[in-house]
């Protein structure tokens, strides 16, 4: 059962921010390769977005997003109150033009999702908030 207060706070944030990214780390310093790839996609479509670092409260936020949108891995990108998906779906929708359409922006030229890096992505620390 998710924390009710946190859940209503998250719901408010999702409604208040047309484009909202829940990620590990910050856009300037992503702490997970998948979060970094979504940041790179959003930079390419050149859209303003809010970002929330989930690491300080990972487990409570998992429980909250599991209830709100039946999704409990991060990153999660919300557009106009709806979950678009995690890294895979955001990249797929970016390359297909669906993301730009959902965001109401022009599809950038040469839209190419950042590929998974050859080296292992920067790992989030072994952080388990139980």
């Amino acid at each position: 059962m998710a924390d009710a207060e946190l859940k209503s706070k998250v719901e408010e944030l999702i409604q208040a921010n047309p484009v909202l990214l829940f990620m590990k780390g910050t856009p300037d310093m992503p702490r997970c390769g998948f979060s970094m790839r979504v940041v790179q996609v959003l930079d390419q479509v050149d859209v303003d977005y809010g970002a929330i670092d989930v690491l300080p409260a990972l487990q409570p936020l998992r429980e909250v997003t599991a209830e709100i949108s039946d999704w409990q891995t991060f990153p999660q990108l919300y557009v106009n109150g709806e979950l678009l998906g995690g890294c895979d779906l955001v990249e797929e929708m970016f390359e297909s033009g669906e993301l730009a359409k959902a965001l109401g922006v022009e599809q950038p030229d040469n839209a190419q999702a950042p590929q998974a890096q050859q080296s292992a992505p920067q790992q989030s620390p072994p952080l388990q908030i139980e």
């Binding site: 999704w71 409990q72 678009l84 998906g85 995690g86 895979d88 779906l89 292992a120």
Partner: protein, 68 residues
């Protein structure tokens, strides 16, 4: 595990880092027909939720399709 949850699905899982905890799954399942892509992903994630919860899997990339 995915095959058990989605009977008839064609599933391919690749170990991306060789450590067994970063996996990439390509899933083609008849159950996906008529579902949005995000709901298709939800089905796959639900099938392996246990392994996320116990920490066996750290990351799972998913690509879904409906068999033609």
């Amino acid at each position: 595990m995915i095959e058990a949850a989605l009977p008839g699905a064609a599933v391919e899982v690749i170990d991306e880092t060789g450590t067994g905890d970063h996996l990439r799954a390509t899933v083609a399942a008849p159950q996906f027909d008529g579902l949005s892509r995000i709901d298709q992903h939800r089905l796959v994630k639900a099938a392996v939720k246990e392994r996320f919860d116990d920490g066996t899997i750290h990351a799972l990339s998913v690509k879904t399709s409906v068999p033609g």
